[in-house]
């Protein structure tokens, strides 16, 4: 041990005397580790820390890579605050401008393709082949006759059969019925204009027919006050740097165009949320590290009253963090949210070594030692403790490699490397910078203020605690044990936060827009997915999933490319539709009375459907039906509808027949031709699919298909997620998605938290056993830690702070860091011996307080972070360190005194000579030191 002390002291003296050389060594290490820093990637998204050991996560990563549309950026154009009359037109204009701009060369680096609407060409060619076989009879009846009268009659029959009185069916087919109603209104408006003598163009007829058969090509919200664009970027959520730059550029352009049109816009989706996580994390860490460094340096300047503290302590501290980043670059190549968080915390941990060194140095200078002697003596006295403490903490951290998740394993490597990097940086640079300071003072012929002021580090805090606790030992023990028991009673109530969105930054637009998508568009960005190789069984699977109460819709490639069996079943119906249409020439004469009857019937059907939609809260459908019938939600007639105008014309004008026949000559062939085209019986193949649909449902390599299961609600909200995932699991166990991956991450983090804690406990136990060579003392040392842990859980339960997969790292970190104070007290008490409670606390209390405060500042610097996961981690770790400090300083020394001095427990190391003589002998020295 003497040789070790000698080595440290010799090193300290050499570095103080030859600061330039020591600094050159440090610069050489810095240069080498700069290569590591250059290799380091910042990946501060939740997605990047998903555990690869989980099959669900592996599937999710496969989906992200192979089905890029699943993580497309969704741009929402919001015209709810728009005051003009042309709200819908403004939305469409904004969508078209965004589409045009992002498709241009300026965005080719970031945008692969953008869809402002649905390409109607595929549905025009194959639309009827995609209709369920069970509904084929309906189609045959509906499209038997494309003359005006036959068309309206067929439509009325279909509406009455399918929807009259059945709000559930209306809700199920809402999009289809809305398209029908809007298209029908357009067709009837054209008919009305014809009756009024206007010229109707072929394009107008074609547009109205398209609207009826294919629906609105734009993705609009239920009340048509919002629109949606899908943007497929050139990067994925794994490409961190482009994700930040590209997504920010896309967002800026989307917002610029929206602002210019007087509406609002924002983006969401996995990539947008990932970008926000990255930005808010970076901001949080940058702010946290700045706050931590400023507060800690300010604290040390105040305590040591040494203006050169920022240089003596701050510079090695920052260089140690830089080295840690370099080591991380070599060892794990990246910084995740967890390891980046640790880098900030390292500010509070690394400074502890400097505190011990500078405390010793200042004390020795107080006693009049020269600078070189003071540094040497400080290293002689505290060097071993610093190295042992650092190795203990590093060993505790490295034991975390037993974890399942890469997130914790990376933390193990970076945390232990960080401790050692800070240790080496402090050992190299603190004496060197002290040496530089000494030379500057000599060069400028200035006296050393330390010698001049005779500044002493106060020890009142520890001494007073020692005095009170030695007078009332049972009070201290009972009080603190009672506190731990009371908090422990609450501890089982601590819960786990499993909602990823509750861990994000508050007020993020990308997160809030997820609710908007659910409420206004019926879409949830975080759906569940299935990867399938075979499509034959897909229709059954899709049907089973669609039957689940928690599922809004299911989409699969077979929605667009039905199986061969389904196509074979549907083909005869389509052929029949075509046969019916081929014989269907427009009639020259129209029975106006019969037509009027069908129009009245149609109006009644639409009014009744409107009643059901208003009752059922189907806003989009109610909006369309009210528009067509001129009613408001209360059933009041608020405007003349197209029906009113038609009834007026048809009932009063004699020339209607001729004009109706003319309209029919334009409309019926168009309708006939479009339906004929849509009833194409040819086989639909993957090659027929538009790119948007193909890239949504088929993997890039063509080997797999994707099934998307849309939830009814935002799946992150409340208990709904469990219902959704449980019901899906009742059909298939192969689903994946962010919600399941996050569940898996929470599960693994819980297991890892416990496993890591056990590993850390074992390693720390062994190190302490070797250090103290006394089982009783080693076990006693764990008592404050256990009390701190139980109390932490109790406080979390009372304050309703939940564990999550980020802040759960507090458990193993607490083991590695929280035991330090106890260890220092043990060493000092063994030196002081019987009756040494007061000097033990006087000698260690202030240092333990300072190291606890600096560590708390390090962790506490996360608390102002916008990201709630970082904030809660900051709170949990700060409270944990405070508790560990409290039980170490207030409870543990008193207990040591009682068991040793009242109950006679032998705490001396195995194999040591007469303990009583030894403790008395050793005890004398510190007392002298204190008096001196």
């Amino acid at each position: 041990m003497t040789s070790q002390r000698g080595l440290m002291e010799r090193w300290a003296r050499w570095a103080t005397s030859n600061p330039g050389r020591a600094i050159i060594v440090a610069l050489a290490i810095t240069a080498l580790l700069t290569i590591g820093v250059a290799r380091l990637r910042l990946e501060m998204t939740f997605y990047s820390i998903m555990p690869d050991s989980s099959e669900q996560v592996r599937d999710l990563r496969y989906i992200t890579e192979q089905f890029p549309f699943s993580s497309a950026i969704m741009a929402v154009v919001d015209a709810r605050g728009y005051e003009g009359e042309d709200q819908k037109e403004t939305i469409i204009r904004t969508i078209e401008e965004i589409e045009a701009s992002l498709s241009g060369a300026a965005f080719s680096e970031f945008v692969d393709v953008i869809y402002g609407g649905i390409d109607p060409s595929f549905a025009s060619e194959h639309g009827l082949m995609l209709v369920d076989t069970a509904d084929m009879d309906r189609l045959v009846d509906l499209y038997q006759d494309t003359n005006l009268l036959g068309f309206l009659r067929g439509l009325n029959v279909d509406l009455e059969r399918e929807y009259s009185g059945d709000g559930g069916a209306l809700e199920d087919d809402e999009a289809q019925v809305v398209a029908w109603v809007n298209g029908l209104e357009e067709i009837l408006s054209l008919m009305n204009r014809e009756l009024e003598g206007e010229e109707i163009s072929r394009e107008e007829v074609s547009g109205a027919t398209n609207a009826f058969l294919l629906g609105d090509p734009y993705l609009l919200s239920n009340d048509e006050q919002m629109g949606l664009l899908m943007i497929l970027p050139t990067y994925t959520v794994n490409d961190i740097r482009p994700m930040v730059e590209g997504t920010t550029a896309i967002e800026s352009e989307v917002k610029r165009i929206a602002d210019a049109n007087g509406v609002h816009a924002g983006i969401t989706g996995l990539i947008a949320v990932g970008r926000d996580e990255m930005v808010t994390s970076e901001q949080g860490f940058a702010t946290g590290m700045t706050i931590a460094i400023i507060l800690i340096i300010a604290l040390l300047v105040i305590v040591f009253r040494l203006w050169s503290t920022p240089l003596i302590i701050g510079l090695p501290l920052v260089i140690g963090i830089y080295w840690t980043a370099g080591l991380a670059g070599f060892l794990v190549s990246r910084l995740s949210i967890v390891t980046a968080m640790y880098m900030v915390a390292l500010v509070g941990l690394g400074v502890d070594y400097a505190i011990h060194m500078i405390s010793g140095f200042v004390q020795e200078r107080d006693r009049g030692a020269s600078t070189v002697d003071a540094v040497g003596l400080a290293f002689r006295k505290s060097g071993r403790g610093i190295v042992t403490g650092a190795l203990t903490t590093a060993a505790a951290f490295i034991s975390l490699v037993v974890a399942d998740s890469g997130m914790i394993r990376e933390l193990a490597v970076v945390a232990s490397a960080g401790i050692l990097a800070e240790l080496v940086a402090m050992f190299l640079l603190v004496p060197a910078i002290v040496g530089v300071r000494e030379r500057r003072l000599i060069r400028h012929s200035k006296p050393d203020p330390l010698v001049h002021r005779k500044q002493r580090i106060r020890s009142d805090f520890g001494r007073r605690i020692g005095e009170v606790s030695s007078r009332h030992p049972w009070g201290f023990i009972a009080g603190l044990a009672g506190l731990a028991v009371v908090l422990g009673i609450w501890s089982p109530r601590v819960s786990i936060e499993d909602n990823l969105m509750e861990m994000e930054a508050e007020g993020l637009e990308s997160v809030e827009l997820q609710d908007t998508l659910v409420e206004e568009f019926g879409l949830a960005p975080d759906s569940l997915f299935l990867i399938t190789r075979d499509t034959e069984d897909l229709p059954t699977l899709v049907d089973d999933l669609e039957d689940l109460a928690s599922v809004r819709a299911v989409e699969a490639v077979t929605t667009y490319v039905p199986t061969a069996a389904d196509q074979a079943e549907r083909r005869p119906f389509l052929e029949e539709i075509r046969r019916n249409l081929s014989d269907d020439d427009p009639t020259a004469v129209i029975d106006v009375d019969a037509l009027l009857e069908e129009l009245y019937r149609l109006e009644i059907n639409l009014v009744e459907m409107g009643d059901l939609s208003v009752l059922g809260g189907n806003e989009r459908l109610a909006h369309a039906l009210n528009g067509a019938t001129g009613l408001d939600n209360d059933g009041n007639k608020v405007e003349r509808s197209v029906f009113d105008r038609l009834f007026e014309k048809l009932e009063s004008e004699g020339g209607a027949v001729a004009r109706l026949a003319e309209f029919q000559q334009a409309f019926s062939p168009e309708l006939n031709q479009r339906i004929f085209q849509m009833a194409n019986p040819d086989a639909v193949t993957m090659d027929d699919l538009p790119r948007m649909i193909r890239s949504t449902y088929q993997s890039r390599d063509g080997a797999a298909n994707l099934v998307t299961i849309f939830p009814r609600q935002n799946p992150w909200v409340g208990s709904y997620r469990n219902i959704f995932t449980t019901q899906v699991e009742s059909v298939t166990s192969d689903a994946t998605g962010m919600i399941l991956a996050a569940d898996e991450m929470t599960r693994i983090a819980q297991v890892d938290g416990i496993r890591s804690m056990i590993a850390a406990l074992i390693v720390v136990f062994l190190i302490l056993l070797i250090d103290f060579r006394n089982l009783k003392l080693t076990l006693l040392s764990f008592l404050p830690l256990g009390m701190a842990f139980v109390s932490l859980l109790g406080i979390m339960a009372i304050t309703e702070i939940q564990f999550d997969f980020i802040n759960i790292i507090a458990i193993p970190l607490l083991v590695g860091i929280g035991i330090d104070g106890t260890v220092h007290i043990n060493h000092r008490y063994l030196q002081e011996g019987r009756g040494g409670l007061v000097p033990t606390l006087a000698g260690t209390g202030t240092a333990i307080l300072m190291t606890a405060v600096t560590t708390m500042i390090g962790f506490g610097s996360f608390i102002p972070s916008l990201m709630r996961a970082l904030r809660s981690t900051g709170i949990v770790l700060t409270v944990a360190i405070a508790l560990a400090f409290a039980y170490s300083v207030l409870f543990h020394p008193t207990l040591l005194m009682m068991v040793n001095e009242r109950f006679g427990w032998n705490l001396k190391p195995w194999g040591s000579r007469d303990a009583g003589d030894q403790t008395r002998r050793v005890a004398g020295q510190p007392h002298k030191t204190e008096r001196r």
Partner: protein, 253 residues
């Protein structure tokens, strides 16, 4: 041990034994009594809150009466909001008709509609009892312990369907241990609960305790429907046989 202490323990043991011995069928039968009023006229409101937005309150008059063969019959006529004032639902056993006030037409609904939402609410016709008076008809029951619901000790009773075509794969009912009234019913499909019905504000009506507030919360949609009974009159002279026919429905103005 003191004799008095022994006596107290004896009473407690006897009480527990009496409770556990209570037959689950008896508990449900007692709870079902709340719905065994005959020839009932009632006036109630139905308020639906969807996505946090409360919709216009629906006001309805209901008439309920069993047919001679025991078939449950009910007629509900809406008087508000204006859009549906005069709209009526007629249910006879498992058959359903709707009369639209806006058009005066009467439509018979398909049998599959019994699992659909009643009047756009979170209640389905099946929740009304599948054409019977009990929530639990067609289900076999077993006691599954005790739980506290809104601070009241309640039997937790798990009900599984006895027939294959049941609307739900499982119901869980909580019946108060003391008063033997339904406090809550949970509806399950595909391994998960999808709706929860709370029955509150029990008041004495005739010989039974009747829940004046029934709230159904969908667990799959962000939606809650609350029926508040304003007035309920058993053996009401207003409930006549002629009300329960599609002919009467057509005659409504």
């Amino acid at each position: 041990m003191k004799k008095s202490t022994l006596l107290i323990i004896g009473f407690l043991v006897a009480g527990v034994a009496s409770t556990t011995a209570q037959n689950v069928g008896d508990i449900l039968a007692a709870a079902d009594e709340a719905f065994e009023l005959s020839d009932v006229y009632s006036r109630s409101t139905l308020t639906i809150t969807r996505n946090g937005r409360e919709q216009a309150t629906q006001v309805m008059e209901s008439f309920q009466s069993d047919a001679a063969d025991g078939t449950v019959r009910s007629l509900s006529v809406f008087s508000a909001p204006p859009r549906v004032a005069g709209t009526a639902y007629l249910m006879i056993g498992n058959d359903l008709w709707i009369r639209f006030a806006s058009t005066g037409r009467v439509r018979k609904m398909s049998s599959s509609a019994r699992t659909n939402a009643a009047a756009g609410s979170d209640f389905s016709y099946a929740d009304m009892g599948d054409g019977s008076r009990s929530f639990t008809a067609g289900y076999s029951a077993r006691l599954d312990g005790m739980e506290s619901i809104r601070g009241v000790d309640a039997h937790r009773i798990v009900l599984t369907p006895t027939q294959g075509d049941a609307a739900y794969e499982r119901l869980v009912a909580w019946v108060s241990a003391e008063e033997l009234i339904y406090l809550r019913v949970q509806y399950w499909t595909d391994g998960a609960p999808i709706k929860v019905m709370d029955l509150e504000d029990y008041r004495r009506v005739g010989n039974v305790h009747y829940p004046f507030v029934v709230r159904m919360r969908s667990l799959t949609n962000d939606s809650v429907s609350e029926i508040v009974t304003q007035e309920i009159v058993p053996a009401s002279p207003r409930v006549e046989d002629r009300l329960f026919s599609s002919t009467y429905l057509r005659s409504l103005r």
